[in-house]
């Protein structure tokens, strides 16, 4: 039997290059998978990882998929640093979409410049509220946030289903569970003709800058980091643990809510049951793959977005099942966690 024993001095070089090792391991295992499925590995890689990036349309799609991942992961990273594990970003995204969509449905036909900003504000509020609930449960009743955030995700999706099946169902939608298509005033403007890339990307850009500054310089980020690394030191210094919980969960909820707005006022253009292909969960991988660093998260988001695109391409060109996307994401997280485990520990055979 072997034992994992902590290393005295985990390597910082390995800590920062671990994502690259994880990607390499994912590619190797992926080619084994392609080969076992009877697909030529090299050609499959071409389809999966290269072809999506051979056109400007492909790049625009990459950004469209990366944008919500970035928004959510930046928010999650704050909490993860403080060891507050919000894994219900998918639900907070849904609530953000629902609040923003409510504004769009209610003010349908109003052609005013304030409609879209109102949707953004409503979406942020919706996400923040859905993050505040677990914060309340944790600070008041000591309820584990990993459970409450996850379960509230289901609640959010049922509320969405109720709304698009009931009050907000498009009367001319042939009874499909979806809202009306939003008007132009309730949609982000398209930036590049012939693509779906829109102005919501600007919000993302500012978010990255903002979070970078926040992480690098703010006292609040320092307090969160202390709270996560050494709770006793935070208590000793008099940093409130409750504030940490509230801030982490509300902030990550808010960011997920913004991502939800970006979807319904962007590529989706309405409320329906397929707003997000699991962005809220993939963003957990993104946050760790980006080492919880504001800029690292951007690169990690681009990679995960590419896996989304590659997964779609593989379904079309290689007749692979849709699960391929999840498999690659899962492998990536698995190898990353594995790499981290061996950075912090080493394997020893007991004497």
């Amino acid at each position: 039997m072997h034992l994992l024993e902590p290393r005295a001095q985990p390597s910082q070089l390995m800590r920062w290059t671990a994502p690259l090792w994880a990607i390499l391991a994912m590619l190797l295992t992926g080619s084994l998978l392609f080969w076992m499925l009877g697909k030529p590995p090299l050609e499959s890689f071409q389809v999966f990882f290269i072809e999506p990036l051979t056109s400007s349309y492909g790049w625009s799609e990459l950004l469209i998929k990366a944008s919500p991942l970035i928004l959510i992961a930046e928010g999650l990273a704050i909490g993860f640093k403080a060891r507050i594990y919000n894994i219900g970003a998918e639900g907070q995204l849904t609530m953000g979409a629902l609040f923003a969509g409510g504004v769009a449905v209610h003010f349908d036909g109003v052609d005013a410049a304030w409609v879209l900003p109102a949707m953004v504000a409503a979406g942020a509020l919706g996400g923040a509220l859905w993050g505040a609930l677990p914060a309340l449960l944790k600070t008041r009743f000591n309820a584990e946030e990993t459970l409450t955030t996850l379960m509230l995700g289901y609640v959010a999706s049922f509320i969405l289903a109720y709304m698009v099946n009931g009050p907000w169902r498009d009367p001319e939608g042939m009874n499909f569970p979806q809202s009306i298509m939003f008007g132009d005033s309730a949609l982000f403007r398209v930036l590049m003709e012939g693509t779906r890339l829109n102005t919501s990307i600007i919000i993302t850009l500012f978010a990255v800058l903002g979070f970078w500054l926040f992480n690098a310089r703010s006292f609040l980020a320092y307090r969160l980091e202390v709270g996560g690394q050494a709770p006793a030191a935070a208590r000793y210094a008099g940093f409130s643990a409750k504030q940490t919980v509230w801030f982490s969960l509300v902030m990550s909820g808010l960011m997920a809510g913004l991502a939800g707005v970006g979807e319904v006022a962007g590529p989706v253009g309405q409320l329906n049951l397929n707003i997000s292909p699991g962005y809220g969960f993939a963003a957990i991988i993104v946050a760790y793959l980006g080492r919880l660093h504001a800029v690292g998260i951007v690169f990690a988001s681009l990679l995960i977005a590419l896996i989304y695109l590659g997964g779609e391409a593989a379904q079309v060109s290689l007749q692979m099942p849709a699960a391929i996307t999840g498999i690659f994401q899962g492998m990536l997280l698995f190898f990353l966690l594995g790499a981290d485990a061996f950075i912090d520990n080493r394997l020893r055979r007991p004497a």
């Binding site: 310089r217 006292f219 320092y222 202390v226 000793y236 210094a237 008099g238 940093f239």
Partner: protein, 524 residues
Amino acid sequence: MNTSAPRLQLLHITKRYPSVVANADISLSVQPGEIHAILGENGAGKSTLMKIIYGAVKADEGEMLWDGRQVAITNPAQARRLGIGMVFQHFSLFETLNVVENIALVLDEPFDLAALARRVTEVSERYGLPLDPFRPVHSLSVGERQRVEIVRCLLQNPRLLILDEPTSVLTPQAVLKLFETLRQLAAEGVSILYISHKLHEIQALCDSATIMRGGRVTGQAIPKDETPASLARMMIGRELPQCVAPVYTGERRPVLEIRSLSRPTDDPFGTALHDISLTVHAGEIVGIAGISGNGQAELLAALSGEAPGARNAVCIDGAPVGHLNAGQRRRQGLVFVPEERLGRGAVPALPLTHNALLTGHPQGMKRWGLVRYARARAFAEECIRRFDVRCGGPEAVARSLSGGNLQKFIVGREIMLQPRVMIVAQPTWGVDVGAAAFLRQTLLDLSRTGVAILVISEELEELFEISDRIAVLAAGRLSPAEAKAATNAESVGLRMSGLFTPPTEASAPASASSSSTESSHASA
């Protein structure tokens, strides 16, 4: 050459680590029945040497002879089979298990719990170490826990017993008891290696001594023929520094007041506080003696604000602060040096600059919610300079510092906050002699500037050196603070065992001892 081979002989043992030579050319020999002291400061290489003997670390060079035959001990199990037993400074007992279960866990041979319990009783009685094999460990005092560790070694019939700083957690009375046991063992032919930096203990107990400094042997001595000063010179290379306590001439006003502080405990292994009252005045140091586990942790948390409670139970300069959290109390001028440096007093993985920010942030290190890292860095640099913190500069991470240097940094940081009240727990725990003297003098000097200082320590000598008044915390009750001149180590030691009369229950002298877990061995 001796006719009887030494029990243990080390020849030219050398152990190098990447950054330091822990042991350089160490030779020593221990005869059967000899009590041999290894004297040295922290970092002198004593622990590495003991680990080499015990097989936990492998020497790079040198030989080890056991009963005159060369041996290579590769692991502790082999060391135990040879007859080497070790009692570590930090106990490795499971609190939820009882004594005999804890002992059974480390035995290499198969066991029968009932028979083992009989052996435990037998051995413990034979050596004057009374133990109930079926008591759960969490209900034992620290002294009793150490007995478990010793009995655990004795069950394996050791021929060499290694004790690493065994008295740091004992009352003076318990120390005497331990010495009797060790002398009895030595008389039966057991060799004892006794690691310590306490000079008077070594003089009282040991037949011979090997003195180490900086990984080398700097002297062999017969302790009884030496003076503390001559031993100290060999140990630290210069005279033992003495603290001077100047007279405080300022106004003597109460600054920290604790009024009837009672506190139940949530922790099943914790200690409830009963009606604690104490006043610390400007310009004085009040020491609280007692063995950890008698309410020290709970009292400190109640005073620092890490565990806020009743509003009027704690006052600073007359203002009630009992309900405030640690950050709010700091704004009232309270600073605190906790016992745990890593993880509480400092964040292990963060550099000193960031650790300066931990409690120094109100000193102009923030603007508009952003940290002014240049200022935090300057603060850390000044702290390193003023308090002689040996480290790789303000960007060195806290856990890379030795215990003593990190303590200097934390004490320095707290002093630089210009406090009105300073609370210090175990100020020199694990700190080398030179740094300890520096820290004590720093506290004395600070108090004479009009700061009220409360020191909680297990080291009686230290408290007698720096305190103006001394109180004793035992079983969650605090004795009245007495002027240092009016008391002595004996009486403080007795009170540490819980045998004092709390002021509010003057008519019921037995009440304190009845609730004390220490009482059994104090009277034994």
